[in-house]
Structures are given as structure tokens and as C-alpha cells.
Amino acid sequence: MDNHFSSADLEFQQEVRAFFKSAYTPELQAKVESGEDHKSVAIEWQTKLNDQGWFAVDWPVEVGGTGWTPVQKFIFETERCEAGAPDVVPFGVKMVAPVIFTFGNDEQKKRFLPRILSSEDWWCQGYSEPGAGSDLAALQTKAIKDGDDYLVTGAKIWTTYAQSADWIFCLVRTGTFEKRQQGISFLLIDMKSEGIQVNPIHSIDNHHSLNEVVFDNVRVPKENLIGAENQGWTYAKALLAHERTSIAGVADSRRWLREITDLAKQQTNYKGKLIDDPLFQTRLSDIEIELMALEYMELRVLAKLSSGETPGAESSLLKIKGTEIQQSLQELRMQTIGAYSGSLHLDNFESDLHRRGSNSRRAYMYGRAATIYGGSNEVQRNVIAKAVLGL
């Protein structure tokens, strides 16, 4: 037993660390933290990553990716969080691209992948529907053949950044079979198409990132179909498994824990420092000890991945524990900061504490989504019950 990286991996770690130090400049950091003009700031950061060749972390080399090992990806992600740098917007590079390069044809790869790499195309995900959430196979958006096209009618919901997306990748129903999972196809739809309406959904974080996307006889050329008709469920499932492995968020949680600990050294409680309050200490260590366990859970999965095993229900476990820890940290961060955590201000802050307070409110409120998206934690428990416990 040991937790040592190879010397090559340690060199890689140094290289990544140095990159983040020079590339994630204070100016960029200020823009990210202001929360303004999310899209252009994200494009600026993603372009920097792409110039370095480190944007498409999960892609194979042949299609312009890094071809990194699981350990290299882990190191990259850890160093990114240590540097406080933002994650990339996942819908293009992490979500649709793997489906395109795995199941798409050469023409589709040539057409879409370069524009994802350059952040020219902005994607959103059309899976959930008003009547199909955790039970995704209940989806009813229909795509009916009409000559060389499909006509798509229906509605997608919880579509993050649909308001600024150029494309949406959708699961649509193209056939009716006894098994609901059959008859679903994977379709790429231009958001500028006639008949698409984006209705904003304002969320409890007083922000607009979610939308409903309504399709009314939207004409989609059949060259936008990925793989074979009625096989879309298989492609999407491969993608969902990926979504779950990156969801534990260990390195991000560690950074939050550090921030809370540092804040608690400055904040007071009665006549002493908050960090010396035994009740506060216990709330903090409840979380830290779980996080220490999660770190080794993730490393154990990583070691398995490195030796060629594919992760199964472990990703469900990481998702449940990871998101529970994130939410506990979000709550404790608000309490540590105090009443500023209720602030709705997005600029003109009284102080750094005021800014952190407002951020912590947004993080807490939107953070409720983490136990819901990517397969709710209850659905993950069903997965573990079936796959691991044989129930």
C-alpha cells in the first residue's frame, strides 16, 4: 500500500501547478469573482487552456484532446482547485463531445469538435422534460421523419445556459417500443432554428441560469443524428457515467474547508474567536473527517481506474457523499460569515466579507441542485441498492 505518484506524474504536477500560477492571473480572477458576463469570461479562460492544449482533458489525442491517464486528470483537477481557477463549462467539451467522438461519424467530428475546442460553439443539454426528471426514459419530445429532416416537438427543462447557447444536444423519441429506453435518439439541434422558444426559469439563488426550451415543429436535418436511430439511450448512458465520476468535488470542497477555517480565525463568537468555539470546531471536523474519508474513497477508485478497471456503482457513492459534503460546507460558510450571507448584492460591496457573504448565499442556494442533478441522490441510492447490494 502506498499513495505515491510516479516521478513522471510528480513532474507533471509541477508543470500543471506552474501553468495555473501564470495563466490564472489576478485580473482574470477578479473578473471571475465579479460574476459578471459569465460567457465572455469563460471563453477567455477556456481559450487560455486550449492554447496550452489542456482544454479537452477527457478527449483522446486523435481528436485534439490531452490523452491523459486517470492519474493525470486527477492531478490537473486537484491543481486547478488549489489555484482557485474555475472549471470549464462542461456542456460542450465534457458532455456532448465524448458522444460525438465516440458515436458520431467523421463529418460530425470535423464539423463540431474544432468549434467546441475553440469555444466558438456554446452548448446546452436537452435531457430532462417537465414529465421526465429522474425517470428520464419517460421523455416525450418527439422527432418525426419528414423527408431528409426530423420535425421536433416537445419541451426540455432545467436547461442551463440555454439563453446563451448556439446548440442543444437532445434525447428525442423516434419510435415506440415495449421497452421505453428503445426508441430514443440523440439529436443535435441548432438553437437558431425556427420554432424554438427559450423561457427563463429564475432560481432561488436570484439568478438566471436555468430555462425551459420549447420546440414547435423544429426542422432538424437528419445529418444531425448521432449514431443510429433509436440507439440514443445507450450513448447518453455512457455520458451519464462520466458525469458522475467528476462530481465528487473533493478538491473544491477542500478549498472551501480551508476558506471557512481561515474565516473562522478572524470572526468572533461571544468574546473569543469563532475557531476556538468547541461547537463550531465539531461542526467543522464533522465535515473535515468525512472529507478525509472521501479523498481516500476517490483515490481508491482512481487506483482501480489506473489498473484498467471501469468504475461501477462507486461513482454513485462518490456523488452522494461528495454532494452531501458540498452542501454541509455551503451551509457552514454562510454561518461563519454571518448576516452578510443574506446579501443579494452582486457588486458595490461594503467589504470583502460582504462579497463572500453574497457569494456564499448564491453557492448555498444553487448548491441545492447538486443532490438533484446528474441523477438525484435517491436515484443513486437505487443504483447502489441494485448493483452492489443485489436488492
Binding site: 500500500m1 475557531i275 481516500y296 474513497m297 452522494i320 435517491e378 452492489v388 436488492l391
Partner: protein
């Protein structure tokens, strides 16, 4: 990066699994556990023959030279089999302090006897007023010619009922709660001035309160300087108990899942109810957390880059989590077994009682979490 036991460690584990399958069913175990002795000397002799008792001892003392990972590998399997024979008090506590003794003659004499199974020893350390504080020692030792004269009261001495030799932690200087001023003494259990009041614990351990009244003891540590050795032995003991607890948890979970697949109510097996499935997923996650933190602790304790502060943090975190998750798993096992969970004939109650006893040994969860807090946060 590798978080699995080595081939040798797996072979060691496998030998315990095979022995337990053939010789240590729940009913076979009870023959020894329910006897006056409280365990089976025959089984204990088999442990010696199979070499398991040599694992923690250094090669120069005739042992296997095992690391804390080897110890954990053995203890995890002993936990699964719910071994009641007093391996832990004899090897990890008594043997551990003996190995750190400054008296080479005594080491050379006694360690081989532990390894061949002929000697039972115990460590008399904790006292009634001290609860979990290992340095709150009122027992005193004063020089009396070539030996020392020891007086005091030691409580819940693990292995104390059978021990022929005792290592007594006694104060030779300083105030009652000082870490300095503690020394180790070897005392014959049948010496004059030693009164052993034996009683069983709920997990089947045969322990004793021991009263020393001017009993004669031989100094086996540097005078007044035993706290380092005690700390080292306790750290290994914490990991050993945690490994045993992880073994207990795995059996509690497995047994409970199997039970719900056979128990029928409302015309179906109760494993089909989502309310119960999710509870079993939660206990599975509790186990995976504990196992992962155990592995992490083993990896870091055997890494020479690990600072003493980090090692202490890992051990305190581990025992805090083991206490919390062990109780969670044990309580749920009983609840999901329903009325059957309360019966003495089912093994899960016995596993749970061992789990609860581990959570009272050398500290409970709050005790370890408070130490964690002190070291990690206090300004």
C-alpha cells in the same frame, strides 16, 4: 499508487479465513466464549502454530516483523470472525510495550513465550478516575532495593483475568496528570500485594480491576520516561481496533442484506422495500467511508514523509469516524432484523456488542474528535 493489501498480506488473511470457515462458526465460537475461561486455549494454540501471534514482533525478537498494515490485515479478519481469544491485549498492548522495553533480558525471555502461545500478559494502565486519559495516573512506584513497590488501582484491565504477567504503568514523579514521570513495571499477577477481581465484558472479554498494595515490580523502561512508548503502542492499538471494527462492519452489513432477502412480510421479501434499501445503502456507505479512511491511515502511517502531527490527525479522524459509523451500522443491523435482532441466538447482536466495546476502548468518538479539534483548529 496502490491501496490493496500485498500478496503476502492477502495470504495471511486467506489463512485466517480458511481457519475460521473450518473451525470457527458462530456455534463453534460460542463453545469457547461461553466456557468458564471465556475463550478456547486450543484455538489460541492454533493461532501460535499458524504463526499469527508472531506478526507484530520484530525479527530480532523472533517475530515476523510485521508493519501496522500487517497488523491491520490480521485484525480485519479477526473482526470478521469475531475472534474472542485475547490476541489484542496480549500482542498489541502487552507485547507492544514489551518490545519497547529497555530491558533486553526480559524481552528475550518473554516475547518468544507470547509468540508460542504459552504466555498471557496484560497492561494495567487506565484508572477509575481517569476515564480515557492515559496520563492521569495515581498509581505510584517507589524504589525498594533492587525492585519497586507499587500501589494503586487499575480498572478494566484487558486480558487481566488470565494474565500471568502484568505491565503496570505507574508514576515515579510529577503530578497526577503529568505526561512525564510515568514508568513501566513488570509484575507477576500472583505476586503478593496483587488482587485481581475478574469479570466479563459484554463482548466476551475477560477483564479485571487490579489492586496493587505494595506489590513488587521490576522497572522495564527508562525511569519516568514511558509516555513515548505508551503513545506509540496506543497509536498502533487505535489502528488495530479500527481494522477489527471495519471487519465487524462488513459482516454486520452483509448479514443484514442477506437477512432482508429471506425475511418475508406483506407477502414479499422486505429487501424489496425502498425505505429499507436506502437504509442499507447508507450503512454500505458508512462501511466504505470507514474502510477508505482506514486504508488512508495505513498508507500515511507507513510513509516516512508523514509528520507526527499528520499521523495523529489521521488516527483521531479514523477513530472518530469508526465510532460514528460503527454505531450507525450496528444499530441499523439490529433494527432491520426486527425482533430477531434482539435475540442472543443471532450473531449480529454479538458483533454489535464488540463494536460498542471498541467504541469505549481508550476513548469514545467524542474524545477523539475533541483531540482532532484541538490539534487542527485551536488558535
Amino acid at each position: 499508487m496502490n491501496f490493496e493489501y500485498s500478496e503476502e498480506q492477502n495470504a495471511l488473511k486467506e489463512s485466517i479465513v480458511r481457519w475460521a470457515q473450518d473451525n470457527y462458526s458462530f456455534d463453534q465460537r460460542r463453545v469457547g466464549a461461553d466456557s468458564d475461561n471465556g475463550f478456547s486455549q486450543d484455538h489460541y494454540n492454533t493461532f501460535a502454530e499458524l504463526g499469527w501471534l508472531s506478526v507484530p514482533f520484530s525479527e530480532e525478537n523472533g517475530g515476523y516483523g510485521g508493519s501496522v498494515v500487517d497488523i491491520a490485515a490480521v485484525m480485519e479478519e479477526f473482526g470478521k470472525a469475531l475472534v474472542v481469544e485475547p490476541v489484542f491485549p496480549n500482542l498489541i498492548l502487552f507485547g507492544g510495550l514489551l518490545e519497547r522495553s529497555t530491558n533486553d533480558v526480559i524481552k528475550a525471555d518473554l516475547i518468544p513465550q507470547i509468540i508460542d502461545g504459552s504466555l498471557m500478559g496484560a497492561v494495567a494502565m487506565y484508572e477509575p478516575q481517569a476515564r480515557f486519559d492515559a496520563s492521569n495516573i495515581a498509581t505510584t512506584a517507589t524504589e525498594a532495593g533492587d525492585t519497586y513497590s507499587i500501589s494503586g488501582h487499575k480498572s478494566v484491565v484487558l486480558g487481566g483475568a488470565h494474565a500471568k504477567k502484568l505491565i503496570v504503568v505507574a508514576r515515579t514523579s510529577g503530578a497526577q496528570t503529568d505526561e512525564d514521570g510515568l514508568s513501566l513495571f513488570l509484575v507477576d499477577a500472583d505476586a503478593s500485594g496483587v488482587e485481581v477481581n475478574a469479570y466479563p465484558l459484554m463482548d466476551g472479554q475477560q477483564v479485571a480491576d487490579i489492586h496493587f498494595n505494595n506489590a513488587s515490580g521490576q522497572l522495564i523502561s527508562d525511569l519516568g520516561n514511558a509516555s513515548l512508548a505508551i503513545g506509540e503502542v496506543l497509536a498502533i492499538a487505535h489502528v488495530a481496533l479500527s481494522a477489527e471494527a471495519v471487519g465487524l462492519m462488513s459482516v454486520l452489513n452483509r448479514t443484514t442484506v442477506e437477512y432482508t432477502k429471506t425475511r418475508k412480510q406483506f407477502g414479499v421479501t422486505i429487501s424489496s422495500f425502498q425505505a429499507l434499501q436506502h437504509r442499507m445503502v447508507d450503512t454500505f456507505m458508512s462501511y466504505e467511508q470507514a474502510k477508505s479512511l482506514l486504508v488512508g491511515t495505513l498508507v500515511e502511517l507507513t510513509d516516512d514523509r508523514t509528520t507526527p502531527e499528520r499521523a495523529s490527525k489521521m488516527v483521531n479522524a479514523l477513530r472518530t469516524l469508526i465510532a460514528k459509523n460503527g454505531k450507525h451500522i450496528g444499530d441499523e443491523a439490529i433494527q432491520l432484523h426486527g425482533g430477531m435482532g434482539l435475540t442472543d441466538e443471532m450473531n449480529i447482536g454479538h458483533y454489535h456488542k464488540r463494536m460498542m466495546m471498541i467504541n469505549l476502548m481508550f476513548g469514545d468518538g467524542d474524545f477523539f474528535q475533541q483531540q482532532f479539534n484541538q490539534e487542527a483548529y485551536a488558535s
